[in-house]
Symmetry: C2
Subunit: 260 residues, 2 copies
């Protein structure tokens, strides 16, 4: 049984008639991430690549920097938990994380309002790509999105070279797709400083910062950016290409990196 | 100046040529909600109807039940805060809220994994509507979405009678659109037990529960539902109609309420 979707009965109404159908619906599952036995966060996600999700989340939040930091990962899909045991910059990250989460009351959404908290280096690079390559990558990504084609209920993101997709992840959460990619890249020792991040979701400030933390010079989306993401991108040296579809795109920052 | 969007310079690449354009981009602003001087949560949102957003959020989380609970609302758009002073079921809600947020580490996304925490009554109703009315409401909502048409970067939701939209809200956050509507309905004393909630966003478990808390019998979306939302809907007595577009829809729960 594929844990990513489920067939449910629905009544399809079309031009006044109705029929019973079996409809594939995306599954939404709460998974709690523990860091060295401390409960950190519960994410609603698609049940695959949970090791990547946990490690990518911990990497985005500054708990893990290198693959060598990780000692052990225990996934328990029945309990809905991933337990990561790790060394590394833990203590500092933990303080910052808990302070942030306690003072704001809420989690994920609030981690990074202030760029000074994001501990993000400016992306300095001579990276360039042809606009036709960006369009081509987006078409490749669309072809790959099988779960979306089936359920219409997930986002997808991909880490790419200029010519091809390296890793492709679908998840009901936009943020999770990027965390899963981040985890994968850490596991495989992939240098992301010359890679492209594609996403179907909007480019919000949070997605932008997750991407910038990986040192990625270009983030491209089929959808829209927000003003805050554009301001962060300008500060952090990231190129935003949005509305990448139908042979067109808008480039909002560092346009010299995308050659028409 | 309209605080909901901003004109930014972009480079539009189309068929190998590029041109500088002024592109309207949706604004994403962090707003912190205080409840009786206690900082509760920071939401990334669209800068309008902030009183509704704060009160709707507090209502969803169980801090406020009736309009009479509210003593004062202070909006400070420069500091990015809304301070609500209120009486009511505060103490209990506050304990539950803080406990949840502390134990899970993260906020919003994690509030309602367990239906027992949601303090939600089952929706019992003889409500019925024609499928053509649902389709017609969705068309009305699309016509109203001016910010989306301009920026492509927001979601919208609406509270409707069977024939017309009562309130329509656009926001960069799916959840915020519903909280704003909830706040509005509380301000105006609107009984939501025979109303419809329309949304452009996916129907996730969190949106479903926000809607069920208002006693709304039917939630309709242009987009997909998740399996968890469908299970909650079955338990809470809510009808889900999804993929409402192009003269079609799928009804997942309590289909007897939608007459083809």
């Amino acid at each position: 049984m594929d844990p990513r979707f489920k067939l449910v009965r629905a009544y399809r109404i079309k031009e006044g008639a109705s029929a019973t159908i079996e409809d594939p619906v995306t599954c939404e599952t709460p998974i709690t991430i523990y860091y060295n036995d401390q409960e950190l966060v519960t994410l609603l996600c698609t049940l695959e690549y949970l090791d990547e999700l946990a490690v990518g989340f911990l990497r985005s939040e500054g708990f893990i920097r290198e693959k060598e930091d990780i000692r052990d990962i225990k996934i328990d899909p029945v309990a809905g938990s991933v337990r990561v045991s790790a060394g590394g910059p833990a203590a500092v990250a933990q303080n910052t994380f808990l302070k942030r989460y306690l003072t704001t009351g809420c989690g994920k959404g609030t981690s990074f309002y202030h760029l000074s908290d994001a501990v993000c280096k400016r992306v300095e690079t001579g990276f360039q790509i042809n606009s036709s390559q960006v369009l081509n990558l987006m078409i490749q990504a669309q072809r790959r999105s099988e779960l979306f084609k089936m359920t219409g209920g997930v986002h997808s993101s991909a880490v790419c070279t200029k010519d091809k997709i390296l890793f492709f992840r679908e998840d009901i959460g936009r943020h999770n797709t990027v965390d899963k990619l981040s985890g994968r890249c850490l596991f495989d020792g992939v240098d992301t400083k010359d890679k492209i991040l594609l996403t179907t979701g909007r480019i919000s400030s949070e997605i932008l910062i997750k991407s910038a933390k990986l040192g990625i010079p270009l983030i491209a989306s089929r959808s829209a950016p927000t003003d805050l993401a554009i301001r962060h991108a300008a500060e952090l040296g990231v190129t935003i290409a949005a509305f990448v579809r139908n042979q067109k795109m808008n480039v909002y920052t560092y346009p010299e990196r995308v050659i028409p």
